[in-house]
Symmetry: C2
Subunit: 613 residues, 2 copies
């Protein structure tokens, strides 16, 4: 097992290009948009603990603590880079309220104080430990941003209470969280405050899981929340996708921390199971809304895809940990697939609204197919919303964008890895590394490394890339181009050939049989009805067609056009007719980046297109 060091957010500045643009929108608009909707919906007010059954105030949900925690974490990431008194004061206000309403014994949870105070740690389907996990992540981010450890201290007291209740008194009604998250959070906390008790508690939750037989609730299946087996025996990704990947991220942390090879093997198998059998081309995971869960391998229907934004984020988090334990570009490839597709499809281009589900096909006619009975099929919504009842995704995508810097590099004493190509300046381990690029709008990347002579530089060659140039000698090493850094001010140019490519799915994927999608570099493309005045399902792409790209400022990347074959409806004389009587006509298909769909009103949308020839 490798143990590359992940760079910290403080080590890196995103200076230009795709992500600088995204971070600006995140910093200027999204963080306030999420805050305002959380104000509107009573989530911030809930920290006043004013709710009583009688007084008509909005009843808090048992996951509201986590929504605000993720917002604090996002805001902390932002103020770490761009000091902002308004945001900081809001965070302090919340910390004050947490301190004020924390139980003497350290316990803190809004719902289980104002609604069900007598049922603390009695219902595994409630999210007390999950909320604590997110509060811990928020406290760590706030500490990193400000150096202030008051929030951590408050939570340390709560953690002590959890240790007592779960590991000493064993007085809780369950022994492991119903929704994982606290495991990875405890490792995160340990990074800034290396107290072994945090590791011990994380290990307790990891090691108890799958033993306790209390996994069954709600969906009546222990696999739903990964309680069906001990974690080291889990090799198939099952159940609720976000729970699963938060758990797997914690497992990866433990594998690294304890050098636990069995845990590491499980992590690698779980990653491969998702990457090779259970992932949409967008990176989306979880093909059913029932339980927001994984289904069977290759079961990836496009129109009913759940593909939750948070699930993509959680898989990026898990992958980002594995990239440092196992030198193989597939992990950073996965991060790339997520951050350019399934994660940012979750947020509108203007940064104000969000998808919880990210379908790969929209047929508006489906929405009103039941004309003569009172029924609607359950399908994903077609337009982003500013807030959801269960609004986990908005603050999650906000924190991911604010924290994208953490995904770029890792290193050890002799090696520097470039996992993502993002215009940035980073300083770590005595070196400075600058990346200059407009990637993924084009494939030219210039990297300058100062003060790292005699180390080796590893540049990820994305698996989608069929041709690249490096202006130096290199060896390929598990998907990375390995280059000797032979000067104190080392400059290197990488040029990845980025051109539109037709992509097929494994023939095991029934939903995509006989069809192809279009990708250009890491970006998946889709067509919308708004750009194409024909039925999208009738568009057939010729396998040998040339697809033309054009830079678009509005998407901050390219749009595409390709020649297609359409059915000549003049030739259609009946509902069913001999195939030989069907005539075709040429047409042009306009494609936009998948992440940009549904930004111009409600429209049909399609990723997979039938082929001719």
């Amino acid at each position: 097992m490798e143990k590359l060091k992940r760079i910290q957010l403080k080590d890196v500045e995103i200076t230009h290009g795709f992500w600088a643009n995204r971070q600006k929108i995140n910093r200027d608009i999204t963080i306030y948009a999420v805050r305002d909707r959380f104000e509107d919906t009573g989530r911030f007010k809930a920290f006043d603990f004013g709710y009583t059954p009688e007084n008509g105030e909005i009843k808090p949900h048992f996951f509201w603590d986590s929504d605000i925690a993720k917002w604090i974490e996002s805001a902390s990431f932002i103020i770490e880079k761009t000091p902002n008194a308004e945001l900081q004061s809001k965070i302090e206000e919340i910390i004050n309220k947490i301190e004020e309403h924390q139980d003497e014994n350290g316990y803190f949870n809004i719902y289980h104080t104002v609604v069900e105070p007598d049922n603390r740690f009695k219902d595994r389907s409630h999210h007390e430990l999950y909320c604590l996990g997110h509060l811990i992540e928020a406290a760590v981010a706030y500490y990193n941003a400000t150096g202030k450890d008051r929030f951590i201290n408050i939570l340390d007291k709560f953690i002590d209470h959890v240790i007592k209740v779960f590991t000493e008194e064993m007085s809780s009604a369950f022994s492991t969280p119903g929704h994982e998250e606290i495991e990875l959070a405890l490792y995160r906390l340990y990074e800034v405050r290396p107290d072994e008790k945090y590791i011990k508690l994380a290990e307790f939750f990891l090691n108890e899981r799958g033993k306790e037989g209390d996994g069954v609730y709600g969906w009546d299946n222990e696999a739903y929340n990964q309680s069906h087996k001990p974690v080291r025996e889990q090799f198939e990704a099952l159940g609720h996708c976000v729970r699963a990947n938060y758990l797997y991220a914690g497992m990866a942390d433990e594998a690294r921390n304890a050098e636990d090879e069995k845990m590491f093997e499980a992590c690698k198998a779980l990653f491969d199971d998702m990457a090779n059998k259970k992932m949409y081309i967008s990176g989306g995971i979880g093909s059913t809304h029932h339980g927001e869960a994984f289904t069977i391998p290759y079961d990836l229907p496009n129109d009913s895809a759940y593909a939750e934004t948070c699930a993509s984020i959680s898989l990026a988090m898990f992958s980002n940990r594995l990239k440092d334990l196992d030198i193989n570009s597939k992990y950073a490839d996965m991060v790339e697939r997520q951050i350019y597709n399934g994660i940012i499809s979750g947020i509108s281009l203007d940064g104000k609204s969000f998808f919880y589900e990210n379908p790969l096909e929209i047929n508006l006619s489906d929405r009103r197919r039941h004309t003569s009975v009172n029924h609607s099929d359950r399908l994903p919504i077609t337009q982003r919303l500013e807030v959801f009842d269960c609004s986990c995704c908005p603050p999650n995508v906000t924190r991911l964008i604010a924290n994208i810097g953490e995904y770029i590099y890792s290193y050890d004493d002799n090696r520097i890895f470039v996992h993502q190509y993002i215009g940035s300046t980073a300083v770590f381990d005595g070196s400075q590394i600058d990346t200059e690029t407009e990637y993924p709008a084009d494939g030219k990347i210039k990297i300058t490394v100062a003060n790292a002579k005699n180390k080796r530089l590893y540049l990820r060659i994305p698996s989608w890339c069929e041709s690249f140039k490096i202006n130096a000698g290199y060896n390929m090493y598990n998907g990375y181009a390995e280059i000797e850094i032979n000067s104190d001010m080392f400059e290197i140019s990488l040029e990845l050939e980025i051109r539109p490519v037709l992509i097929a799915a494994s023939p095991k994927v029934r939903a995509d049989a006989g069809a192809a999608a279009v990708m250009m570099g890491p970006i998946l493309y889709c067509a919308e009805g708004i750009d194409n005045d024909f039925d999208l399902w009738d568009a057939k792409i010729n396998q040998s067609t040339e697809i033309k790209a054009e830079y678009s400022e509005s998407f901050y990347s390219n749009t595409l056009r390709c020649e297609i074959s359409l059915t000549d409806e003049e030739s259609i004389k009946a509902l069913y007719l001999p195939l030989k009587n069907v005539k075709t006509k040429p047409g042009t298909l306009k494609l936009i980046p998948y992440f940009g769909f549904a930004n111009r009103g409600e429209s049909d949308m399609r990723v997979w297109f039938k082929l001719i020839k």
Copy 2:
């Protein structure tokens, strides 16, 4: 409007070929299989009126009268051709019980006598008038079979009661049936007992429909049971398919009887709407189980197709009426599509079990896709059952097969129409007509007409037929070959070219985009997993492929083989990969008649195949 006369069952003997075989199974096996299951489930016993809430007997359902009525009708059709004391005695036994338990005022309904006696004609969603309709059809069939009119007399008394309650006292809680059927039954009764009161009652129900504003129940939509508009203003097929087509059949009867052109126009528009926009290639109608209803035009998903057997039967009944009012082969083409596909897929080859729903695609993996939550998607069953809780289809398919003779010919003073090619001898209107053929296993048809000199013979040329030969001069007339009968013993040979053909759907049908089905003559084909050891969805048919046919005794028609292209899985190195890296390999697809699917155990099944070239 034309007014061709439909031949009566008594006029025709099915002597050989496909339908003689089917009728033998129907007569020897199916009629007893349905009877036995109706015995097992208490349906026959219910006619003893023994149920009380206290005594533990099976509670009758409010549609059970209709199940037994359809069985009596089927048995009557059978004994009309093949006297059978056992069946006749069973029918007499039921008639005795009906007579015994009929109310003094004429009313008869099991449920509304033993369960809810105080709620007669109070709930439009109950099926009192529907049951009466089926009892009338049964009584007419029994009268035709035996000359005994006791059953008709019993029902006449009930009809008088209905006339009083609905049209004189107006004391019912609704004015038209929630489930249509009685309308067509009253016209049927009028044929054997021409009392104008039956017509008046039918007209009352037809003319009141869509006026009364009491259509909303259950599915909360007046279109569900065709109560959204006056019938003469209905041009779009909407709502519950069986209710719709039983209504439309009654509308066609009224159009004919009253020479009502507005009604006739509505009938033609409704037929075209179904035939051109809302019908599966199998003839199935109703693409959703929600309300067993029509949806929007071209919305024809294959795996979740409802396509109820009874709906196909009801559309055949409607079409068979229209063929006599409007000389156009499309109506008999529709009957043909139904009787060789969507209707007989509803019954197993051994005649013992039944499909209620007839999907056009089965993917067994779908059935267990939810591995980690407790949920099953709602999909049609994959194997036929011997009886259902709502067991309308088994006795319906039985009566259709027993009565298939009625669909073959019609005539007027100068013309004889041959609508279906079925090996048979018929005597009507002073002429005798013999058809000798193994159709649809082959296309050779020899027809002899005795004593019809100087009339014209009209032979339907099926719309699927691209080439045919007739050994005499003819003119084409709306899809029929018109031939002068120029001798007293006129012989003519028709040879329809029957060969496998690839069929496309209109590009408006999203579910079938880029795919083709195979038909050979009127028979639709499908592939089953049991015959093909690859994923059926991966099979791609070359548009120019030769499809080979071989006669199969077990299906009493042909099976087919064609060369296909499959994905070479050796070339698949990832879940997603450049299309150009996907290699193909040749394979062979075995196809069987669609009506024969699911007769050899549970299996994947597919009708529509992707194409290459």
